[in-house]
């Protein structure tokens, strides 16, 4: 009840015309930067920090929140239409979304991602408002051992995206591991695989890899097959928006995605990428249309991960607002904005800055509504992009990918890496190696390795931490079931089909 009255007060703060304008400005700006690869919400907010000297704290946080949520919406647009993810959290969206766009369902893919983002963003924001104290307790119980077990679970689950051949899938995954290892090792401060180049000390940006493998590689492949006359893009087939069947296939995926995204986003080292991987794997497992995955594009594979990344964006705000813990680059910059107002974010923030916090939460709800209103009509416009003739479209993608990559850190080295990876992506496509596991490998490996080594440092080399911590044991058990469960299930089914004299239990 207390929460409701706080929230009502928050809405009264957010609903002033000026603050609504800030919200609109933020969401518009956020959508725009989400669309551009290389310009992320963290950078944008950092550049806008000077306005904290000019306006009231409420106004600037409402603006920042709008940018933050807006970027999550916008990031999916280029993933779906151009196979060029603007944010690391929307890489998975490109897998099915771009397939859908090529087979004439781009409008539906954009719609399910916009509406899914709305649903998950709203659920996530409700979570922030009502569950924050509980969720944060759960999040703090995650130590390095638990994170490592979570990574194991993620590895097992995402083996679903390895494609038809495990050998090819694993090869790609291992390439991802190696790319993920490039740079200064956090645990020892020593450079690995940098070949003496200072530009590689911070590793390779995952966006550069995704854009190189997906967009540039794809463009090279298309160019090489220009006269083969295959693989035509169908701009639009059927209705622009979602059909009844597509709605029916989407809503469960939205809810599952939101349920995965919010708690993992709230984990201090959870991030937005892992829930999208997990959601994709789960949707692929549960779907009745498995044949659409990787061919014409399955709508569940867009709906789930998109919901997951928006819910995780809300989850990130939980440790930030309840404990003052910034768990993403964007949250860290928002915290530094708090400081420029002389507000020290910490465990007392909800009490000492109730106006600000509840105004912010209320404006997140409003931002979500504005975003869905803003994005749905744009779909018709976006889909027209696909009507551009292939040569011009692919040339445009190449320009877009190049400019966006340069924008990440203004580094010419990144451009060289982009085109090298584009070449690699072309070869992988040509010889039928899946590219998605590279991305998954490069994101998961450093996390798994770091957490493993931290756990071992803390336990002083004692392996038992992984199975004596209840939470860690639970996660490992789940992973184990995920690994052997399907085989046992298949065996039981097999026995059952052979004859009625065999009871499944004695198998």
């Amino acid at each position: 009840m207390e929460t409701l009255s706080h929230l009502a007060h928050g809405f009264s703060v957010a609903f002033t015309p000026v603050n609504l304008m800030w919200c609109l400005l933020g969401t518009t700006l956020g959508t725009a930067i989400g669309v551009l690869p290389g310009l992320g919400p963290a950078l944008t907010i950092a550049l806008l920090l000077p306005i904290t000297y000019q306006v009231a704290p409420e106004a600037s946080f409402i603006l920042f929140a709008g940018i933050y949520y807006g970027a999550m919406y916008g990031g999916s647009t280029t993933s779906i239409l151009l196979n060029t993810p603007g944010e690391s959290a929307t890489i998975v969206t490109a897998l099915e979304g771009n397939r859908m766009a090529r087979s004439g369902r781009g409008g539906a893919a954009l719609a399910t991602s916009a509406i899914g983002s709305f649903v998950a963003g709203t659920l996530g924001t409700l979570g922030v408002a009502f569950l924050a104290p509980v969720v944060v307790k759960f999040a703090l119980s995650f130590g390095p051992a638990e994170y490592f077990s979570l990574m194991v679970l993620a590895f097992i689950t995402v083996s679903a995206v390895l494609g038809s051949s495990s050998v090819r899938g694993l090869t790609s995954l291992f390439i991802g591991f190696v790319i993920g290892m490039i740079g200064v090792d956090l645990q020892t401060g020593q450079p690995r695989f940098t070949f003496g180049m200072s530009q590689l000390l911070d590793g390779v940006d995952v966006i550069v890899v995704a854009v190189g493998l997906f967009a540039v590689g794809e463009t090279f492949y298309m160019a090489s097959r220009r006269y083969a006359g295959k693989d035509e893009i169908v701009p639009l087939k059927g209705s622009l928006y979602m059909t009844a069947v597509e709605w029916a296939r989407s809503w469960k995926a939205w809810l599952r995605g939101a349920l995965l995204g919010f708690p993992i986003g709230a984990l201090p080292a959870g991030g937005a990428e892992i829930p999208t991987f997990l959601s994709y794997a789960i949707e692929k497992k549960l779907s009745k249309h498995k044949e659409e995955f990787g061919t014409v594009g399955a709508i569940e594979g867009v709906a789930g991960p998109e919901a997951a990344n928006n819910a995780s964006a809300a989850g990130v705000l939980v440790p930030m607002l309840t404990l003052g813990l910034p768990t993403s680059a964007t949250a860290a910059i928002m915290l530094s904005a708090f400081q420029s107002y002389g507000i020290n974010p910490g465990p007392m923030l909800f009490m000492t800055q109730a106006n600000l916090v509840w105004g912010l939460i209320a404006s997140l709800f409003i931002a979500n509504i504005i975003l869905v209103i803003l994005n749905l009509p744009l779909i018709g416009l976006w889909v027209r992009l696909l009507k551009i003739p292939a040569p011009q479209l692919y040339a445009g993608i190449l320009v877009f990918a190049t400019v966006g990559t340069y924008g990440i850190s203004q580094s010419p080295t990144d451009l060289v890496i982009l085109y090298l990876l584009g070449g690699a992506g072309f070869l992988m496509r040509r010889f039928d190696f899946p590219t998605a596991p590279v991305i998954i490998g490069m994101i998961l490996w450093p996390l798994a390795e770091t957490q493993f080594r931290r756990a071992m440092t803390i336990s002083n080399g004692d392996w038992s931490v992984f199975y004596t911590h209840p939470l860690s044991l639970t996660l490992l058990t789940l992973a184990f079931i995920g690994l052997i469960g399907p085989h046992i299930w298949a065996y039981i089914e097999h026995r059952r089909r052979r004859g009625p004299e065999h009871v499944p239990g004695d198998a």
């Binding site: 907010i45 950092a46 806008l48 000077p50 000019q54 956090l186 200072s198 993403s328 680059a329 002083n460």
Partner: protein
Amino acid sequence: MLNRRRFLTSTAAAGAAGFAALHLSPAFAQDAPQIQIFVPAAPGGGWDQTARTMDQVLRSEKLISGSQITNVGGAGGTVGLPQFISQWNGKGNSLMVAGMVMVGAIIANKSANNLTEVTPIARLTGEFEALVVPAASPFKTAADFVAALKADPTKVPVAGGSAGGSDHILFGLIAKTAGVPAANLSYVPFAGGGEALSALLGNQVAAGISGYGEFSEQVKAGALRLLAISADKRQEGIDAPTLKEAGIDVELFNWRGVFAPPGVSDADKAAMITLVETMAKSDAWATECKNRNWTQILLTGDAYAKFLAEDTTRIAAILKDLGLA
């Protein structure tokens, strides 16, 4: 009417903010100089905040008409430094923000360039570090912590920032003073942000070392216990001894300062020192520092150069002990 006007000004402010809000004091464009600030880090971090705060204060004190901030991030500043040395050579109106982290990164990364190649202008601020433990910890004082460290350093996992950074360096210095071999320490590096803090709040580690500002709110809320700070003297409003008072002869500021490029004229150097000094003595700067938990430790010109040389020697020695150099 009022609302509409406020909306228009706010929109204008937001639009201009992307261009470092250069529009604010056009009237002073004639007599106050424009300056360029080079930040060898991505937007948002400590160096970037230093640059943006400087820009803000310099403009509000009407010492400059505006500034342009360039960010070239990466590897503790060692990606940006070579660029500043080669491409900004001789530009008298330019400054680079850097600090202790870069000194460490240059050594650890075996960088080809170092800070003796640029022109020291001023050391501006420092953040002293804090040694904290979770509220439930058996360690009540810094002496308890050191005693446990002496007994068996492998049983005292300490969380902090990246390996070889200021937190790790302070841990190494504490161990060295206590006579504990640095190689036996159990240091758990976290990628900054809130991760180290959450490991402490979740009782995953025995203690934590980081900038005081990272922990201050948790200490006030009673979730963490502050054992000691690495400042030179007791700080107003902080109820904890310095490391020296606690019997550990270590003092450390994670300092930040500004440098001019190589090859600037003596006149330009002197003018820049005056400019930065005037800024550092302004009330506006003092307020900003207070808000951000930055301690003012102003040191200019040759004194700064001397300090830099000493600190580099000290850091190189401890990084060697920690096996990082």
